[in-house]
């Protein structure tokens, strides 16, 4: 009986209504044209198309640039498609990389069958998932169920514009920069919750509650870390943050000496890293898809390509998170120029190396650690990470203030010779202070969590 019911619901109501709607619209438009102009013509259709093209030209061409022809439009479309393809490949091949690294840690070989040394495995997986049926459970909210993977996947793709692949290779250096990253993160949470709610499954529902609590909580320490970085660099733009680490100063501020922010912000780096792992739902914070507890969490009821979208979104998000960490703490694409490669290419190589290092660490965590319990997870965030991140923010403020005083001798209470020695001494004292306080708090962070709040 159930099966029969399920079959009945497979009638393509959506397609029929879509076709009827289009038909109705065409009839209505034709009638409107006749009513307005008094004669039958296709000219208004062409007009509207022309208008659309002009709008597109205005949007993409930007002010002060020559009008864009069809050729340029094509080129830009191809570039966008190229970036999309690269991003999808990165997402797919991250899985292979993870499987290989995990295999190495667990004394196994990992995928070896498809292609030489399993190099084509992600493509085979993708093809397999393409062929599978996307099953929608009977009681599910079909619209939410359909929308959720899309809403998860789009912000992951949109994040690609932030990634500084190399010197001068940043797609867009947005002036809100790092805030955009946050906005996308919030967008992704919506997708997860929609998936959980739309599946009509209790496991998914619990996973959804967990995911929302976790992701919203872990954005707070993350924001504090980013504010510290903004204090140090004086800008929200990612390009400027990298410049501040390479050159020491930007148009908006900066420390006055080149230093990777992982040195003054080591604590911030740790917190941001942990929060980024939590934001991307990875072990040991993978409570939203806790396999042994909640079967598969929010994507329990997903199959085929829809499931693949969640999967890809997760890995693209890891890549974006690793890129942001690299840009904010590890100097982005900074690094000595490599022989035979030239400036741009060697910067790309350095960037990729650092991102891989972060990615490897995330996989390493997965290979070593079990999952935290929910209460332990929230306690880690609210009782440990947030206070430490706030303290870190405060200390950074003091540090930046002291640095500003150092740079402007007229502000000094006692007039000292502004020699190189005093500068260096001041830097060293401030750094030691930062490290001391960081260690003081880090000890607290590393203390075992014994209390239970349940």
């Amino acid at each position: 009986m159930k099966l029969l019911e399920w079959r009945v619901r497979r009638v393509p109501v959506g397609k029929i209504s879509l076709i009827l709607g289009i038909l109705a619209f065409v009839l209505f438009a034709t009638w409107k044209i006749w009513a307005l102009t008094g004669y039958w013509s296709l000219e208004p259709y062409f007009d509207s198309l022309r208008n659309l093209f002009l709008t597109l030209r205005d949007k993409f061409g930007g002010p002060g640039e020559p009008p864009m022809g069809l050729y340029n439009t094509l080129i830009i479309t191809l570039k966008l498609l190229g970036i999309l393809l690269v991003l999808l490949l990165i997402g797919a091949y991250s899985t292979l990389m993870e499987r290989k690294i995990l295999a190495f840690m667990q004394d196994r070989l990992g995928p070896t069958r498809v292609g030489p040394r399993g190099i084509l495995q992600p493509i085979a997986d993708g093809l397999k998932l393409l062929q599978k049926e996307c099953i929608v459970p009977l009681g599910a909210d079909r619209n939410f169920h359909y929308l959720a993977p899309v809403i998860c996947f789009i912000p992951a793709l949109m994040g690609a514009v932030l990634i500084p692949f190399g010197k001068g290779l940043m797609p867009v250096d947005l002036n809100v920069g790092i805030l955009y990253f946050f906005a996308l993160g919030a967008f992704g949470e919506l997708g997860i919750f929609l998936a959980a709610w739309g599946s009509n499954n209790k496991y998914s529902a619990i996973a959804g509650f967990r995911a929302v609590a976790q992701l919203v909580s872990y954005e707070i320490p993350m924001a504090f870390c980013i504010m510290s970085i903004v204090l140090l660099s004086g800008s929200l733009k990612i390009g400027e943050i990298i410049n501040a680490q390479i050159e020491g100063a930007t148009a908006y501020g900066g420390l006055g000496f080149p230093i990777w922010f992982i040195v003054p912000q080591f604590l911030g780096f740790l917190i941001f890293f942990l929060s980024a792992v939590a934001e991307t739902n990875r072990t040991p914070f993978d409570l939203a898809e806790a396999e042994s507890e909640l079967v598969s969490g929010f994507h329990t009821e997903y199959t085929g390509l829809r499931w693949a979208f969640f999967f890809l979104a997760e890995y693209v998000n890891i890549f974006i998170g690793a890129s942001i960490i690299t840009a904010m703490y590890l100097g982005g694409y900074a690094g000595p120029e490599l022989p035979f490669l030239g400036e741009t290419l060697s910067s790309v190589v350095w960037f990729c190396l650092k991102v891989f290092l972060i990615f490897f660490t995330i996989v390493w965590l997965r290979g070593t650690l079990p999952r935290l319990r929910v209460d332990q997870l929230m306690m880690l965030c609210w009782k440990r990470l947030i206070p430490i991140a706030m303290a870190n923010f405060l200390l950074t403020g003091i540090f930046v203030f002291a640095n500003t005083v150092r740079l402007t001798p007229q502000l000094w209470p006692v007039h000292l010779e502004n020699s190189a020695y005093t500068s260096i001494a001041a830097i060293v004292v401030i750094l030691i202070l930062m490290f001391g306080l960081a260690w003081f708090f880090a000890k607290d962070l590393l203390k075992p969590m014994k209390e239970r709040d349940v």
């Binding site: 004394d107 072990t283 042994s292 290979g367 070593t368 999952r371 014994k450 239970r452």
Partner: protein, 382 residues
């Protein structure tokens, strides 16, 4: 069954707390990645907190006891392999022991030693599986692979010894089916040398892992009184500080000739259960080594007719298995068929305490506690 509450009031269990609107019933199993087979638990949860627990068993019931009545005594033996399929050797042992006692058979000394060798290798394999699956239950992948790498070798050794990987049917009335040979003994020794570093590594992977410890220390604490009240035995009872091991207390096979310790721990929580099983692996290794070193000469089985008729009578005997005390009650009417065979399965009795431990814990802890019980549902349902 549409509403779990109906089931709750009509069938087993009792409502531990009054229902409220903030709660919902979560059906876990019989198909669930970490209920260790076909176990089903109905959990009433308030958010993450478990307020009511209804364990439901019987999805793997095959009627082993009834089928045994229609087989002859020899035919009843392979059925025991299918009960606790992770510790099949000890199940063979459990049935052979009362039958031999009834028939007053003199089992050769070499056979007794071979039995101990097989039992302990199987115990090692069983505990290795526990080690791996507890890791999986907590969300860690690596312990599973570390443990299974060694377990694979243990299974291979048992295969060399008995000819089978899982359902051994090795321990027979009057001895064991096959004798050990020098190449097999060499393989055993190779395994022991290879196992030592892996054993250390497995310790470090959990003991040096803060999250692992946080997840299992203090979770599912139990008192010896509670456990004894429910008839819980084996490593779970030993983990709460009761020094009870039938290998020491009432030695069967040749256990009185071996030097080993009974591992206990005082807390009675998930960590203690892990600790006991882990340390027992070391003790098993010790016994295996002693077995190989001092294997006596002689026949490996007392020659017996294929069809035999034990004298009329009834006997209850208990042996120690990796999961606890496996009791076997046999009744013979003097024919070649058993009149009645009854098993007291340790997993079944151990599970009875589960709902008391689960109350008030989170969903994550439910999995951890169930994993630490290491139940085998072939044995629970029989």
């Amino acid at each position: 069954m549409s509403d779990p509450k109906d089931f709750l009031t009509t069938q087993t269990g009792t409502l531990l707390e009054k229902e409220s609107e903030d709660r919902f019933w979560l059906n876990m199993g019989p198909q669930h990645p970490s209920t260790h087979g076909v176990f089903r638990i109905l959990l009433e949860t308030e958010g993450e907190i478990v307020k009511n627990v209804v364990p439901i068993i019987g999805y793997l019931h095959r009627g082993v006891e009834k089928i045994s009545e229609n087989r002859d005594w020899m035919g009843a033996l392979p059925l025991t392999d299918r009960m606790d399929y992770l510790g099949a050797m000890s199940n063979n042992m459990a049935l052979t022991l009362p039958v031999e006692e009834l028939m007053e058979l003199e089992v050769p000394r070499r056979a007794q030693w071979l039995r101990v060798l097989a039992l302990e290798t199987n115990r090692l394999a069983s505990h290795l599986l526990f080690y791996g699956t507890l890791g999986l239950d907590l969300g860690a992948l690596t312990p599973f692979f570390f443990a299974f790498r060694q377990r694979e070798i243990a299974q291979y050794l048992l295969e060399l010894l008995s000819g089978q990987r899982i359902t051994f049917n090795y321990i027979r009335y009057g001895g064991v089916r096959l004798d050990i040979t020098t190449p097999i003994e060499r393989e055993f020794r190779k395994f022991i040398t290879g196992f030592r570093p892996a054993y250390e590594e497995m310790w470090n992977l959990v003991e040096g892992n803060e999250i692992f410890r946080t997840r299992i220390i203090g979770v599912g604490e139990s008192t010896p009184e509670l456990l004894i009240k429910h008839g819980v035995t084996g490593p779970i009872l030993r983990a709460s500080g009761v020094k009870r091991d039938l290998r020491k207390d009432r030695p069967f096979a040749a256990y009185d000739e071996f030097d080993f310790d009974v591992i206990t721990h005082d807390k009675g929580d998930t960590y203690s259960r892990w600790y006991c099983r882990y340390k027992e692996m070391g003790e098993s290794l010790k016994i295996i080594e002693q077995c190989l070193d001092g294997m006596p000469d002689g026949p490996h089985i007392k020659k017996m007719p294929f069809f035999f008729k034990p004298p009329p009578g009834e006997i209850y005997s208990v042996t120690d298995t990796p999961r606890g005390d496996l009791g076997v009650y046999i009744v013979s009417d003097g024919s070649r068929f058993p009149y009645r065979v009854r098993y007291r399965a340790p997993s079944f009795c151990n599970l009875s305490v589960l709902s008391e431990l689960l109350y008030g814990t989170g969903i994550g802890d439910v999995i951890a506690i169930l994993g630490s019980f290491d139940p085998v549902f072939g044995e629970v349902d029989r």
